[in-house]
Symmetry: C2
Subunit: 160 residues, 2 copies
């Protein structure tokens, strides 16, 4: 596999929540009920979710209204702490399956079904960073996303 030298542990379900909690607390932030709920709702989406989607989901789960700006606040915190990522070309967020491990990452976003898969290929992201540096630019956060069609939607097209 080309991606990276070390092995990730991809977390799921309760295990992922625990990993997220650990990471957030190590960052000196609290793992509150609301944050846990928001993380769980986010993690259950199988594709990137907008802050408003999450607000709806959490509101339902909590049985009371959670306003979008509350969600934004917590999402910002999550992104800062590597618990979640923002998909810029979708204006949406996705949980990070290995919050304990820091990467620039690459998203493949299907324009048909919205499915978004996450790639870690450090050789690509390093190349992008150094190309930026070479022009005198100080890179902070690469945004590398690919819009296109996922394998399933390709197949559908071929079959249909």
């Amino acid at each position: 596999m080309a991606a990276s030298a070390h092995t990730h542990h991809e977390h799921h379900g309760a295990d992922l929540s625990r990993a997220a909690q650990a990471t957030l607390e190590q960052a000196g932030e609290q793992w509150t009920d609301l944050r846990a709920q928001i993380f769980d709702v986010l993690a259950k989406f199988d594709k990137p979710a907008s802050a408003y989607d999450i607000a709806d989901g959490v509101s339902k789960a909590a049985g009371r209204r959670i306003a979008p700006n509350t969600v934004y606040r917590i999402l910002d915190l999550f992104v800062g702490a590597n618990l979640a990522r923002r998909v810029e070309s979708s204006n949406a967020y996705i949980a990070n399956a290995h919050p304990d491990c820091l990467h620039d990452c690459i998203f493949l976003v299907c324009d048909s079904c919205g499915q978004t898969t996450h790639l870690d290929d450090d050789s690509i992201t390093k190349t992008v960073r150094s190309a930026a540096k070479a022009t005198g630019f100080a890179p902070v956060r690469p945004v590398i996303e690919v819009r296109g069609k996922c394998a399933d939607c390709e197949d559908d097209q071929a079959a249909g």
Copy 2:
């Protein structure tokens, strides 16, 4: 220079407008007054402009109100015809200085001043495309942007 084997002609001012017109007409679309005005306003911004910024600029220039959705329509046309690009991480648009030549491209966006520079490095974009393909994904449009600090803002920081 690493970027690409062929040489671009970077157009500016009236020359750029002419190149844009030629490209758009070759795509079977009309180069109307309004499109010309929108293109000129877009090209005069020195950083990515939102559709609303452009609507304001064009409204002033034209002496009458041009609504944002009109601007969006025309920007979509421009993006489809390679006259302009959308910078996803800024929700904004930028004129393409060489509309006559098709590339995936890379933007370096300064978080301090908004300055955005445009890189064409086909080796990077090809690598990204093929990494996507390798997972069974059919790439259509890579979005490669780097958020960070431009050389000027870095210097300011160092000096101040």
